[in-house]
């Protein structure tokens, strides 16, 4: 047996990498199959859409706009599913990958072989990190394939949170954060099920907190109009805040004139128009990069903490 395997080993993972990959080969295979299935569905829809003439009602199975509607619905589902991906990753790393070893005692087997336990822990972080990298970059690319024709759909505006995440590196950043949060939680909690919940919760909290901050991570553009009763926005622009504008240029909140006789109120406060702060389309990339940078820095800090704790507690 051993002679047979040694000849193939050169291209295959060795040592702890082999062990970790072999232990978790089912979930790795499942992730690969799901990614391929997503790629097939996504590109199939896009090819069918592109192949259907704009005004075709006779030859094709569906009309061009029916395909677009289908693409929008699938993209909407896709984006929501991707939103859950970091929570899933954190739970898998925390529970089955780390806490179960500590709970069931199998760590005693691995840590007393010839390999430094810290290298084992590094493999437990690095392998899911690589897998998450491949899957999220794949998903981001595939989402772009769907999003192209359906970007005008109200559910798929770039600033919808779930769409924003899957449009760029933020999804990758949150995936990597989830890996490190999962590893740290598994190390601290040491019980499979509790660690899975705690890691999911911690990652969800981090994502929610960053969501609350996200629109402030790049300075918004400002605009005004002479009509206090309407905001003149182009579809795709993301209004962050709006209010009433006085003749002196002072910005008042809308709440000042939440009264029945609002016209009289406008006169009283000298309101002559409306102001609004917004993110135009062009802010997608600055917002993506700043948020990804912050999340990656957070992931690095969590990984550092996990390794420090591992070193101080165990060998």
């Amino acid at each position: 047996m051993s002679t047979l395997t040694t000849s193939r080993l050169r291209l295959r993972p060795r040592g702890v990498t082999w062990l970790v990959a072999h232990q978790h080969r089912r979930i790795l295979t499942t992730a690969a199959v799901l990614l391929v299935a997503t790629a097939v569905v996504t590109s199939g829809l896009r090819i069918a859409y592109e192949a259907t003439p704009y005004d075709d009602t006779a030859t094709g199975l569906f009309t061009n706009s029916a395909y677009r509607g289908g693409i929008a619905a699938v993209a909407d589902f896709f984006a929501h599913a991707a939103l859950l991906l970091p929570l899933l990753v954190a739970a898998v790393v925390a529970g089955p990958m780390v806490a179960r070893e500590l709970e069931s005692g199998t760590y005693k087997l691995v840590w007393t072989q010839s390999v430094d336990p810290a290298r084992w822990f590094a493999a437990k972080v690095a392998l899911p990190a690589v897998a998450v990298g491949v899957v999220t970059i794949g998903l981001i690319g595939l989402f772009r394939v769907l999003w192209g024709p359906a970007a005008g759909d109200y559910r798929l505006s770039w600033h919808e949170r779930q769409v924003f995440l899957v449009l760029g590196p933020t999804l990758l950043a949150y995936g990597l954060l989830a890996v490190t949060v999962g590893a740290l939680t598994g190390l601290l909690v040491r019980r499979t099920v509790v660690a899975m919940s705690a890691a999911g919760l911690a990652t969800g909290t981090a994502m929610a907190a960053m969501f609350a901050l996200s629109e402030y991570l790049w300075a918004p553009a400002s605009a005004t109009s002479g009509d206090p009763d309407s905001v003149q926005i182009v579809p795709g622009e993301f209004v962050v805040d709006t209010g009433l504008l006085t003749a002196s240029g002072e910005r008042l909140p809308d709440s000042v004139c939440f009264v029945q006789q609002y016209a009289a109120c406008y006169t009283e406060h000298g309101v002559v128009g409306r102001w609004w702060d917004y993110h135009p389309d062009s802010h997608l990339w600055p917002l993506q990069l700043v948020e990804s940078g912050i999340v990656l820095a957070l992931a690095a800090a969590v990984a550092y903490a996990a390794f420090r704790i591992f070193r101080s507690r165990h060998a």
Binding site: G105, K108, Q113, A315
Partner: protein, 305 residues
């Protein structure tokens, strides 16, 4: 002085905030090349001592040196610590193995994590001998005894200089126990491997072990060569009377008959029948008498700096 396999100096291990101490001020030495019985009742600290020596726990007091390295210290000298891990094999009491792996995959694990040391032929021989285990069988489908066989195969095929075995034979039938013990002893004799084997079945130890370490309540009670410890004690039987001038480990009266285990081998007069105690009698007498002073033979003494 011969090479040292394990040397503890004031070794202590506390658990939890209340400071329950699994080991308390243990100082002893186990020379290399010995088959050492680690005896003691449940809760004596046997498992803690083995886990410390394997580098899974870190002492809270004192020092522990194993094969001239510090097992729990991997920082600073990673390569040396890795080297040390490779030279020590440890089989935990619960024989942790991955239940979802097959026997073949488990041996592959041994190969992957012990590159350069792994003896695949030996591992396969131990797994196949006697039971004829199927390499494709999953660990979770094995009986306790079969799991023990796989765990010992992993430990032996690593070709360690020191084997730390925590209650290894507890769930084996007598035949399998005999076979695996023989395999262990052959290995020890052929390669000069030091074996530290814990058990609370005292009779099991006498035949195989030439060195004894008796722990009780986290402290060392006896340590040294089995023969020397036995010959340093005498079992006295006679009518109830004042015992001669010896350190008495234990004395018991049955009717008008008195049986005592005393330190010292010199002949005593006064109508006493003298006999050499068995290892089991020696250990039991010490466990029944917690106040008897500890005894370490010269090779088990730590040279205090």
């Amino acid at each position: 002085m011969t090479a040292t396999a394990i040397e503890a100096n004031g070794l202590g291990l506390g658990y939890g905030r209340r400071g329950h101490r699994a080991l308390d001020g243990c100082s002893f030495r186990v020379p290399a090349g010995r088959v050492c019985a680690l005896a003691g009742p449940n809760g004596a600290g046997k498992s803690s001592l083995l886990a410390l020596a394997a580098g899974l726990l870190r002492p809270t007091g004192g020092t522990l040196r194993v094969l001239d390295g510090i097992p729990s210290d991997a920082r600073g000298s990673t390569s040396r610590a890795e080297g040390l891990r490779g030279r020590i094999a440890y089989v935990a009491q619960d024989k942790p193995l991955y239940p979802q792996l097959t026997i073949g995959e488990t041996l592959r694990l041994g190969h992957e994590l012990n590159r350069g040391r792994w003896d695949a032929a030996l591992a396969e021989r131990i797994v196949e001998e006697g039971g004829g285990l199927d390499p494709a069988a999953r660990i979770r489908s094995l009986s306790g005894g079969q799991r023990t066989r796989v765990a010992l195969a992993l430990a032996l095929a690593k070709r360690p200089e020191l084997m730390l075995l925590d209650e290894p034979m507890a769930d084996l039938d007598p035949l399998a126990r005999h076979r695996l013990t023989a395999a262990l002893m052959t290995e020890a004799a052929d390669h000069g491997t030091t074996i530290v084997i814990s058990s609370h079945i005292l009779s099991e130890l006498e035949a195989t072990c030439d060195y004894v370490l008796l722990l009780d309540g986290g402290r060392v009670r006896l340590a040294g060569e089995t023969e020397d410890l036995i010959s340093a004690h005498t079992l006295l039987t006679g009518p109830v009377a004042d015992l001669p001038d010896h350190t008495v480990v234990e004395s018991r009266t049955t009717g008008r008959q008195l049986t005592a285990l005393v330190r010292g081998s010199s002949a005593v007069g006064g109508g006493w029948q003298t006999a050499q105690p068995s290892l089991e009698e020696l250990l039991m007498a010490h466990l029944r008498s917690p106040d008897a002073p500890p005894m370490l033979t010269p090779s088990a003494e730590v040279a205090t700096a």
